[in-house]
């Protein structure tokens, strides 16, 4: 099922700056990810995992090499074309939640639907349903300041999932949460992967979080150091 791959990085490099101060964050990455996989990307800081995540999330383009998403060469796309790719196929969850302040949970979840041009009725219904799926029924009209960290991350997940994306990109989704809440968030993400077949790419540096994934890719110094599949997570 992973052939043809949903995502394929071939000889991807990324260099920041120019001349003597140039810094090569990625030194040639080859990576193929199939539909429905749950991949954890690990590695020490500076290993290039965030850079790889930005490229995978179509937020950035490789300096060299190619990135095919569903056979489309992302490195050849314009800024706006990549935005449309994100809009229609990708969902993002960040370490810092990144919700709009002074904006209710419902409005936060509606945001991607506004950009997709859904009308108000459909938007409300979909956003409510997404909030229900993350267990936040009854919290629709609370602003982030009135929610706990775990709840905020649930809102963020609902926002990412409300569009039913192909791929969920989670950048240290549990980095700001305690162990118990982290587990709950991971259970949620795992369930989306398992029940709805959504491909999940997750950056983390915690082994017990990575353990939820079916495949762990370890970055070291701008290269893929190891890539192995593990048995069904507990």
């Amino acid at each position: 099922m992973s052939d043809p791959a949903l995502i394929r990085l071939s000889a991807v490099t990324k260099t920041y700056g120019q001349g003597p101060s140039a810094f090569q964050a990625l030194k040639g990455i080859d990576l193929a990810i199939g539909q429905g996989e749950f991949v954890a990307i690990m590695g020490p800081s500076g290993s290039g995992k965030s850079t790889a995540m930005n490229i995978l999330g179509c937020l950035d383009v490789p300096t060299d090499g190619s990135y095919e998403f569903q056979g489309v060469h992302v490195e050849r796309l314009q800024r706006d074309e990549r935005a449309l790719l994100r809009r229609h196929f990708l969902g993002f969850v960040f370490q810092g939640f990144n919700l709009l302040a002074r904006t209710t949970a419902l409005e936060n979840v509606e945001l991607p639907l506004i950009y997709r041009g859904h009308d108000a009725g459909a938007r409300h219904a979909a956003a409510r349903e997404a909030l229900r799926q993350v267990g936040l029924q009854g919290w629709e009209h609370h602003t982030p300041a009135e929610l706990s960290g775990g709840q905020q991350q649930r809102v963020a997940i609902a926002r990412a999932m409300v569009t039913s994306p192909l791929v969920l990109l989670a950048d240290e989704p549990t980095g700001n949460l305690d162990t118990k809440t982290s587990r709950e968030i991971m259970d949620l993400i795992t369930s989306f992967n398992r029940d709805r077949g959504i491909t999940v790419l997750m950056v983390t540096h915690e082994p017990d979080i990575a353990a939820f994934a079916g495949r762990v890719v370890r970055f070291v110094d701008g290269r893929v150091d190891s890539d192995h599949r593990q048995g069904e997570a507990a």
Partner: protein, 400 residues
């Protein structure tokens, strides 16, 4: 997409109500100032031109001598033949009224009042655009026979009769008594500041016989036909009178021909220029308000960098972010414009009352100010919006 963007902009404004209000304060004050200044200026212009129109804006006055006012400086007065000549030869003249004026004291019972008697005929009322409040004008017999009858102005009535109807009463002027047959509607101050209603009008012959003791005429009041050129009428009058008064070609006129429109234009011209100046000063404050919007929007872009990052990551296009910020700025400044218009309406109504000028709603300046404030939103919102839209989503998301 436009509707959605408008929705996003409105949500962003609602999220920051206090800041939004402060942002538009400059525009509110600017718009209110411009509209109030122009409206009051228009009112002042209107009241000046109303006063002059009440004199008869098509009125031309011919006086002997080069000075306006009593004493002709040696230049001879006009004769009744001059009057006839003007009547017959100036085609643009509609009504020609001879005037002999005398300063007198009018007495009624215990009251007396120093005023001016104008000896003329019914053409005086027609040429000067006078209307009667009570009574009647002169009969032909009264004019021909020089009867002691008079039509009085509102000021004379008030000073002598108080609130009473003067028609039918007799007032004493010098050595004779004179029946009041009519009262004129008030006109108020003239453009020169004198009280037009402080007057007693009598038949020309009555004044000539009983007060001036000569057949001379002090002044001709000529009303110009609608549509006829006042300047042409004045030129014709000048030529005719020069000829009749035997003025050699190299000599100056020993009389003056003046029209009220000239005075009107000069005076309303002044208030119009003042209106424009005040409006321009106020427009500068509008511009400053626009810079305020730009300032706040730039701060807003910096402050909301993360939000912009989120929007971009979620899949907002560059132009959608640009449009959102632009619409935010335009909505804010238009809102400021609307509030400014409301404020200006209240302020101009109140101030017009205080200043005693009429309140005239000027749709043009209201619409122009509104459009201008919206345009300010576009102009001063564009740069910050451009900056927001151009942000790199990764950097924006990382922004603290």
């Amino acid at each position: 997409m436009l509707w959605n963007t408008l929705l996003l902009a409105l949500r962003a404004i609602r999220r920051n109500l206090m800041r939004s209000f402060l942002t538009i304060l400059g525009i509110v004050i600017g718009v209110a100032a411009v509209i109030t200044m122009v409206t009051l200026g228009n009112g002042a212009t209107k009241s000046v031109s109303d006063q002059i129109a009440s004199m008869g804006s098509n009125l031309v006055m011919v006086v002997p001598g080069q000075r306006f006012g009593p004493g002709s400086g040696g230049a001879p007065n006009f004769k009744s033949a001059d009057l006839e000549a003007v009547r017959n030869q100036i085609s643009a003249a509609e009504w020609v009224a001879p005037v002999v004026s005398k300063s007198v004291t009018a007495v009624y019972q215990a009251s007396n009042w120093a005023t001016v008697v104008a000896g003329s005929n019914n053409d005086y009322f027609r040429a000067g655009n006078w209307e009667l409040a009570h009574g009647r004008t002169f009969s032909e017999t009264e004019e021909r026979a020089g009867k002691a009858v008079c039509v009085i102005g509102a000021t004379v009535r008030e000073k002598l009769f108080g609130g009473q109807n003067p028609v039918g009463s007799e007032i004493r002027i010098k050595q004779f008594s004179c029946e009041v047959v009519g009262m004129l509607k008030p006109k108020g101050q003239s453009a020169m500041g004198s009280d037009q209603d402080d007057i007693v009008v009598m038949p020309l012959r009555t004044v000539q016989r009983r007060l001036s003791g000569s057949q001379d005429i002090n002044r001709l009041s000529v009303s110009v036909r609608d549509g006829a050129s006042i300047d042409a009428a004045k030129r014709q009058l000048t030529l005719l009178l020069r000829e009749r008064r035997n003025i050699a070609e190299n000599e100056e006129d020993d009389f003056r021909v003046m029209d009220t429109r000239q005075i009107a234009e000069t005076l309303t011209g002044t208030t119009k220029i003042l209106t424009m100046l005040l409006g321009a000063v106020a427009a500068v404050s509008l511009l400053v308000g626009g810079i305020g919007i730009m300032n706040i929007m730039l701060v807003s872009v910096t402050e909301r960098t993360r939000e912009i990052g989120i929007r971009l990551a979620i899949g907002a296009l560059e132009r959608e972010v640009l449009l959102q910020f632009l619409i935010e700025a335009v909505v804010l400044s238009s809102l400021g414009g609307l509030i400014g218009i409301a404020l200006a309406t209240g302020a101009s109504m109140g101030l017009a009352g205080v200043m005693g000028v009429p309140y005239i709603f000027d749709p043009a300046i209201n619409i122009a100010s509104f459009l201008f404030s919206a345009a300010i939103g576009v102009i001063f919102g564009y740069f910050p919006a451009r900056r927001a839209a151009g942000l790199n989503p990764i950097d924006a998301l990382r922004h603290e």
